[in-house]
Symmetry: none
Subunit: 405 residues, 2 copies
């Protein structure tokens, strides 16, 4: 899509009383029909609050990335935030780093590391080092951060994420992400060498190899946590923020690092983690009134989809539905409910299927009084690309000027 | 949009008996549901003729410019004519000039002028010079056209539009539109100087300042109409005509200058002004058979929308509906009914909402027997961008060749 999602200068930055936008993402919301009832998970769930919202909303179906494309969580969310993920390509390493709060700067390279177990011959015997405790993982990471040593101008920092998962950040001049993963994906063989695959990436590959060698030496006496497997190298590029592009100062209320990471990447603040500081509606209420865009993320729908448990996903949707009266009390001018992709329990994984979507506002064109795939298919939004969501949200919030005379 | 709306060489320029296309635009047609009935203006109107037409038409919803974008009348119409308005950007001054029949050539600069009243200290006391009669306005414009004098190679011509409104046309080498408006938008202050804002626009700014100074001197003894405020400078670029692009020789039957202007810009002829020479069906009948594309414009639907009067808009739609039997008598091969944008009475202004659209022809796929937002949402056309209308019209008119073997 090379037509820009908004012509230039459309955002009304001087507007009086611009509307607030609450974007509620139910991860993996879309589903497939139950073989017996013919109804999807969302259509099977009892959702009185979402149904009431649908009755005053424009409904539609949303393709996060493109026809037939199954999105990962990063691209799925980028699209919902108005960033075409085929244009803003962001590596998993960078997303993970942002997610755990690593302060990435333009040009840094990040990667995902597994703490792994190697035998005396250098063969991988456990790709997750026996899933160490967080404390064990952190101990090794702290040790390495103290002992690792590089040439002038090269900084390598490790951040412990969870159990065996660690994020690597390299800061230096002239880094590049075109280097190969070292994870062989099987055990009983050596890890793969990190090799340059692009013209300017030899320096990066050499730093990575140096880092991996040093780590093995420093951890040589460790019984299980004695080396790393690296993958998902990504050079961090700063991208224009949602405030720059859309005039939206955003905040994310999300429990999981990944989603906080994508939100940060587009310039949102991240305030409070629901699990630590209260329920999602409580955290949202805390920050309400200080931003233009409120992004709320729920994970349980996707988890149930991955589990392949139809009833679990129905239950997850119902639990989230019960939170909507608390959202409504905040009186957002525009309330969007959608997903970053479908995760049908029938497939037990993400899928390419379009995602049911509602935009509730005073200027909506309602067409049905229930929220589900079938009603959304016939709605006024029609079938939209993920990146078309934010322009519509801006319009409903009174945040765009007229195009031409 | 960089994918062209038609692959090259699709237009069948040698076809026998190509079909006629009647494009009826109800300005601001789309609406929002009445809070009590849940039906839009179009859905509330009694439209037996449009409903009968819908029953043999493909129905759909049309986004004139893009998701969330509220179009002005110029961009909205360009899009319906098959010109992406984000690609063909046309200034208001050029549209106004075309609308009043000014013969613009490539490179000319046009602007909109207000006759205004200035006090002895040069402060604006009335931005519309007391809304003079057309005769008064014309008198002053004629005087200036006789008295103004410029250097060799510079031609400045004024065209009286209506009351205080005048169009300025400058013809000279090396003109540019990047100059500032002089209208301060408030009274009690001086007008603003016309300043160059682009690298090549100093010459234009200097001609404009010279013109404004001369006008003030020539009109010094006028009590009220003693100067101009200028805005909307636009350099005229010729664009490929509809005949060049689509093989369509078009004609516009439109009452208001603006719409005749856009039609001229894409190469249509303008024959007859309904208010002067008869009713719209009469004017249309007069020219029928001499063109490929007949563009008919109705303004009352938009006016009622701006007035915020739901019943007025319903009545306007019903009055236009009553004209359709006369249109049907002409037996167009393809009859399109749509709008250049929505103007919901609820909002009292243009909006981004998609516009209900029908294409009636022998090759349509009908889906409903009434014309309204709800039926169009479920129609065979689906959700289309404005520029997709003409390719479909051409197809229904048998004016396209097969693509590939």
């Amino acid at each position: 899509m090379s037509r820009p999602i908004l012509p230039e200068d459309q955002v009304d930055r001087a507007g009086e009383n611009p509307g607030s936008i609450l974007l509620v993402v139910l991860d993996g919301l879309g589903g497939l029909p139950h073989p017996e009832t013919g109804r999807t998970e969302l259509e099977s769930a009892k959702t009185p609050n979402l149904d009431a919202l649908a009755a005053r909303a424009s409904l539609g179906m949303l393709d996060p990335v493109g026809p037939g494309i199954t999105p990962g969580s990063g691209p799925g969310h980028l699209s919902l935030f108005g960033y075409d993920p085929t244009e803003y390509v962001i590596g998993r390493g960078a997303l993970s780093a942002l997610g755990v709060g690593v302060d990435l700067k333009q040009g840094d390279v990040a990667a995902r590391l597994n703490l792994a177990t190697f035998d005396a011959e250098g063969r991988v015997t456990d790709r997750r080092a026996g899933r160490p405790s967080d404390a064990e993982g952190r101990r090794v990471v702290d040790l390495l951060n103290a002992e690792l040593s590089f040439a002038e101008g090269i900084e390598v920092v490790l951040h412990h994420e969870k159990e065996h998962r660690v994020v690597l950040k390299i800061t230096a001049e002239g880094l590049d992400e075109q280097v190969t993963d070292t994870d062989p994906l099987i055990t009983g063989v050596s890890d793969l060498p990190c090799e340059a695959t692009g013209p300017g990436s030899e320096r990066t590959a050499s730093i990575v190899r140096d880092f991996l060698d040093q780590s093995r030496r420093i951890l040589a006496d460790e019984p299980a946590l004695n080396g790393f497997l690296a993958r998902g190298f990504a050079r961090f590029r700063t991208i224009p923020t949602m405030e720059e592009r859309f005039g939206l100062r955003g905040v994310a209320v999300a429990k999981y690092p990944m989603y906080r990471g994508v939100a940060k990447m587009v310039g949102m603040e991240v305030e409070g983690v629901p699990s630590d500081t209260g329920s999602t509606p409580e955290v949202l209420k805390e920050v309400w009134g200080r931003y233009d865009l409120y992004f709320v993320h729920f994970k349980d729908t996707d988890t149930a989809g991955h589990d392949g448990d139809f009833e679990e996903k129905v239950a997850a949707i119902q639990e989230i539905d019960a939170l909507f009266p608390a959202f409504m009390e905040l009186d957002p001018d525009v309330l969007i409910v959608t997903g970053d992709h479908s995760t049908p329990t029938l497939l037990k994984e993400h899928s390419w299927h379009a995602v049911p979507t509602l935009i509730a506002s005073k200027t909506a064109r309602p067409s049905a009084s229930s929220f589900g795939e079938a009603t959304c298919r016939g709605g006024d939004l029609g079938r939209i690309h993920g990146t078309e969501l934010i322009p519509r949200a801006l319009a409903h919030a009174g945040r765009l000027v007229k195009y031409g005379a």
